[in-house]
């Protein structure tokens, strides 16, 4: 059974159609890269999967672990094992990163019917994961994403992926705005954090991220649907020839 199956998805925002008949299947442990020109609908797809309220689904279905994702609140999707790394992570003033992460993790544990972690348990887990991501301890005390550099925000996203341990992670332009060193750290983090059976949807403009996170499939999203699907070599081809 596919972990995720998207069937003939049409979606619009404020009356403007964005997705126009998109199909996608993602199996357990697979890495799918979604590439494509600006405005093709890549970020829209990510947001719809995560449950953004602004998009209207006019047709189609999304099944995740055999459940109808479109009927679920964003947080319910999280409880089911979905994670999305934001292209532009939001800032939350006055809330320490530690408090945010602990609140989120325990909300998820509660949602999954698990027992909350104590502060001590959480602290040691957080420290382990932060060390893996090469994030300095002071980031525990800083307000969520406030004054973080682009690379720090993305690393903080991947840190969350590590803490929340999802079955499917959607990385929306995780490489955008990063220099090559920052990208290497983030990509290495993804690889370290990811268990072998975690599936990934990697949304990116550029092939370079895929040098570090090796995709099983590469899809070209164009004008609201998958125009082409291939293996890792397709990304190289696109890099050389462009999307036309």
């Amino acid at each position: 059974m596919n972990l995720l199956e998207i069937k003939d998805l049409y979606a619009e925002i404020e009356g403007k159609p964005i997705l126009k008949g998109l199909h996608l299947k993602v199996g357990k442990g697979e890495i799918h890269a979604i590439m494509g020109p600006n405005g093709a609908g890549k970020s829209t797809l990510a947001k719809i999967l995560a449950g953004h309220p602004s998009y209207e689904i006019t047709n189609g279905e999304i099944w995740f672990k055999g459940q109808n994702l479109l009927e679920m609140e964003p947080e319910e999707r999280v409880f089911l094992g979905l994670f999305m790394s934001f292209q532009y992570p939001l800032e939350i003033a006055g809330v320490s990163n530690r408090h945010f992460l602990q609140t989120a993790l325990n909300a998820q544990r509660k949602g999954k019917g698990e027992i909350s972690l104590t502060s001590d348990e959480f602290e040691s887990l957080l420290e382990r994961k932060m060390a893996l991501m090469e994030i300095r301890p002071e980031f525990k005390e800083r307000a969520v994403n406030e004054g973080f550099s682009g690379g720090e925000k993305k690393r903080n996203e991947i840190l969350q992926m590590a803490l929340f341990d999802p079955d499917l992670a959607i990385l929306d332009e995780t490489d955008s705005g990063l220099d090559i060193d920052a990208m290497r750290i983030v990509a290495a983090g993804v690889n370290k954090m990811r268990k072998s059976d975690t599936s990934l949807i990697v949304i990116t403009h550029y092939q370079r991220l895929l040098d570090y996170i090796k995709p099983d499939f590469v899809h070209v999203l164009s004008d609201g649907k998958i125009a082409k699907t291939g293996g890792a070599e397709l990304a190289l081809e696109l890099e050389a020839k462009g999307y036309q």
């Binding site: 602004s54 800032e91 939350i92 909300a107």
Partner: protein
């Protein structure tokens, strides 16, 4: 944002059926005399009331706030109301069960509070104080917490000495009105060197329809004493506007500290039409009379149709400290014009102002502050921070900070910001596993953190929940 989310229903909208003794509507010198007679007051207090009344008659109802209200018909208000059954203080079982049920609905588990928390509760039900718990424990420490009418009889010399000294009867229109007709309120006295063994708490609640509330609170902290006082309010939903014109006076002697915390959640009127709701026109002022004294105001203003108040500090003693921490939340059609005045008189006096305004729906939220530094206040310092958060695009937020400094040795700092609570932040937190309500609570509590952490713990939690509850329906 869709309209259906704006109709937050008032959770505490119910009335209690208690046989009240109510004065006929209207206000004349006779009414004032009748109130005083009813309460068996000494002549000095009647004189105080009559002077205030005569001043008030010469004054004009003010309208300079950044809000609108129709002229109030002061002859259409009844100035005295009390529950007919007057229970004794010793046992709660003697209190009218209907009243106890009201408090239960309000989520004030009195029995629970008595048992598990260290809080003494003095309940003002309409205008007459019904019960004071923990009195004995406080008495052992020499701390007095009682209704002001009781204090008039038990400590007339203190009342005569201090009443109207911080907020003079002619201070403003509503203070004058209050001075003439106040019916009850709280009195606190902390003797020299005593630290109050518990936080003192009062819940106010308006019950009688169309009965204005004119609470009067006086807190005196003698040298090197400390007290933390909590005030919380909720009120039932009524269609007619209700005037709440309270006066609070604080006096801190040398080395004394008074911490005064408020969580205000009066009925704010119909969120769509703005009909009904409380006019919360309150004069609160503290006098740092002695050197090294400190007065700290913390307020969470989340209710009332109109909130109009500036809890202030007169920093007369050298090295005295004034603080003002405020969250004012407006939604629906609410209007708030609140802030503080810090008057620096003594040398090296310091003040801190942290104001957080949150406006949602079609509400108006104004911060107005004055930092006045007199020439002799050498080395005075002030820090002011004013932050506004907007929810939606139909509300407004204004800040009017005024600095008036006579000397050149003062140090002043001012910071201000405006931000928006947006759907994207909420969505982000939801994708991390928080419900929408939890997301709003986290964001708002982050915004208000510097204020909330000044509240005593149990109040802080209540306030956090209240803020999130009020905004739940404002974020589409």
């Amino acid at each position: 944002m869709t309209a259906e989310f704006t109709a937050a229903e008032y959770k505490y909208g119910f009335t209690t059926d208690i046989d009240s003794e109510v004065f006929p509507k209207g206000l004349t010198e006779e009414t004032v005399r009748a109130i005083s007679a009813k309460k068996g007051e000494p002549p000095f207090l009647l004189e105080f009331r009559l002077k205030a009344f005569r001043k008030w008659k010469e004054m004009v109802e003010p309208h300079w706030l950044n809000a609108h209200y129709p002229p109030i018909d002061y002859q259409g208000i009844s100035y005295y109301s009390e529950p007919k059954s007057k229970p004794r203080l010793e046992s709660l079982s003697e209190i009218d069960p209907e009243i106890l049920r009201t408090f239960e609905k309000l989520g004030i588990p009195l029995e629970e509070q008595k048992r598990i928390s260290n809080v003494a509760v003095d309940i003002v039900f309409d205008s007459v104080s019904i019960g004071t718990t923990f009195r004995k424990k406080l008495e052992e420490a020499g701390v007095v917490l009682c209704s002001i009418s009781e204090a008039v009889h038990r400590y007339p010399e203190l009342i005569e000495k201090y009443l109207g000294t911080v907020v003079p009867a002619h201070d403003n229109f509503y203070a004058a009105l209050n001075s003439a007709v106040f019916t009850d309120g709280s009195f606190v006295y902390i003797p020299k060197g005593v630290r109050s063994p518990m936080e003192l708490s009062t819940y106010f609640r308006i019950n009688e329809k169309e009965t204005g509330q004119f609470e009067r609170t006086l807190i005196i902290a003698e040298s090197n004493s400390y007290v933390s006082y909590l005030e919380g309010c909720t009120a039932p939903a009524f269609d007619t506007n209700q005037l709440h014109a309270a006066v609070v006076e604080l006096v801190a002697m040398e080395g004394a500290e008074i911490k005064y915390s408020t969580v205000q959640n009066w009925y704010s009127g119909d969120p769509k039409t703005g009909k009904g709701g409380i006019y919360n026109f309150v004069t609160k002022r503290g006098l740092c009379a002695g050197n090294r004294s400190k007065i700290s105001w913390t307020q969470v203003e989340a209710g009332a149709a109109i909130t109009w108040k500036y809890p202030s500090c007169i920093l007369r003693g050298d090295d005295s400290v004034g603080e003002f921490y405020s969250v004012a939340l407006t939604n629906g059609k609410m209007q708030a014009d609140t802030g503080t005045k810090m008057i620096h008189i003594g040398k090296r006096t310091r003040s801190t102002i942290v104001s957080k305004g949150i406006s949602a729906d079609q509400s108006h939220n104004t911060y107005r502050g004055l930092v006045k530094i007199l020439a002799k206040a050498e080395g005075a310092r002030n820090y002011t921070q004013c932050d506004s958060m907007l929810v939606g695009d139909q509300c407004s937020a204004n800040t009017f900070p005024v600095i008036d400094t006579a000397g050149n040795t003062a140090e002043l700092e001012h910071e201000a910001s405006t931000s928006k609570l947006n759907e994207e932040q909420i969505f982000y937190l939801q994708t991390r596993g928080l419900s929408k309500e939890e997301a709003i609570q986290l964001i708002v509590n982050g915004f208000c953190k510097e204020v909330i952490r000044e509240l005593p713990l149990e109040f802080a939690q209540e306030a956090q929940k209240l803020l999130a509850l009020k905004l739940e329906h404002s974020v589409g």
